[in-house]
Symmetry: C2
Subunit: 252 residues, 2 copies
Amino acid sequence: MGSTDRWRQITDAVREAGRMGVAELAALTGASEMTVRRDLEVLAEQGVLERYRGGARSLLLQGEEPPFALRAQEGSETKRRIAAEVAALIADGESVVVDSGTTCLEVARALEHRRLTVMPLSLHAVNALTSAAGLTLLVPGGRPRPGELALTGPLTAASLAALRFDTAVIGCCGLTPADGLTAYDLEDAAVKRAAIASARRVVAVAESAKLSRTALAFVAPASALHVVVTDDGASEEQTAALVAAGVTVRTV
Amino acid sequence: MGSTDRWRQITDAVREAGRMGVAELAALTGASEMTVRRDLEVLAEQGVLERYRGGARSLLLQGEEPPFALRAQEGSETKRRIAAEVAALIADGESVVVDSGTTCLEVARALEHRRLTVMPLSLHAVNALTSAAGLTLLVPGGRPRPGELALTGPLTAASLAALRFDTAVIGCCGLTPADGLTAYDLEDAAVKRAAIASARRVVAVAESAKLSRTALAFVAPASALHVVVTDDGASEEQTAALVAAGVTVRTV
DNA sequence: ACATAACGAACATCTGTCATGTTCGAAAGA
DNA sequence: TCTTTCGAACATGACAGATGTTCGTTATGT
């Protein structure tokens, strides 16, 4: 598990340079060449890069997001702070649908000891909550996307359409006043829309870096959100623009 | 993990005697009293027994089934043999719904490297299959029952009602020609019925001990099953009676 | 075809984790 | 009050996972 840092280091280096040799990466990370080869094998399986004799070449285009395993531990302190704030916005007894993604996984963890009805949209979050005694856990149907384990498809849509939640906690890949809330994956976007439609109140979580980003798939305009929770890296203009769209912004 | 045997030993001893002292259990298992106390704590959390000062008293009535964690490793060799036989009955490209329970979990594992569409009815099986590359994994909606992680409720029923499978693999707590296929849990029974209704062919798995047992909740008559896979502990009369009901019986 | 570099299987080592045991002060019950 | 049980804290040992090293094999370039 301690290899995650090195994986990120390698992923970033290869992505920047386009391709890189095993020896270079070994020097960069301070690990042996054998270890680098083993890492490259893992990353190649995850589809991050492609091996060739002597090194590896990046497969991640600028528009794509790195796989779940790599994002999971990034800026986890910030994510936990955001998650705690979201948890504070939710009252005992509420029913909550929690989106997929690493930030929302932290939200799910923050709800573990509460007394709620929770439907997570990712199996990672489901697994984090299966032994939570106090809460009623609901699993939506669907097809889990590899790695991410986000549930998508008609079964997910049907599960959401059958229910009405007090609050939806939605993650995103980009959120700007102009382009609204956007996601990398088309199917994910459809699920997010369904989740938003099934909830009375919508809370979006977005690390500040996402407030200047727009991804491929449009989900909803900023005005469809009631609360946005972000971190203190957000600029004045960004928060002001969201407030102007009628959104309550909470910075932690 | 190596504590599972001792857990079963303690559970059985306490269930037989009604209640038992810590010192007695320590002598029985050969472990220290501290270890027995830690075990009792775990088992009390699982609802198997109740602690009192100096010992523990059984909470498992004769009609109840021990929790998943205790059944998981029981007779796993037999279960694997049964599972392999079931896997052999399924052709590539089929769609399969796999019931909850420890035997069916083995079936799910046996399908991991096949090219199929699989919908498991328990999160244990879902987790066992999330990294299976070849197969299309479908997750039904529902409320996971604690420990067992079997999905039940209206969402599960709706997920099953929306689909038609080639084969349903169904587990049971009891299966006799007279009483048909029975389960301990009422909600589980409803899910099993829905699974049977959604499949063209029904394969039931039942260790031979279950062929002389009847549980609380009726699921389906034996005649609703197409194939029963059991182990060689089944008696001639038992298999003959099933065959008379129009079932193909396979003994491994 | 040959030489060289890269590869990966096998083994050795190290480290962190988990189950277990031991000790001892605290708490419950007689 | 006294005895027994309990459980927190620490020590021990087994074990799994990660990393490094060695060496025979394989691929690539000249």
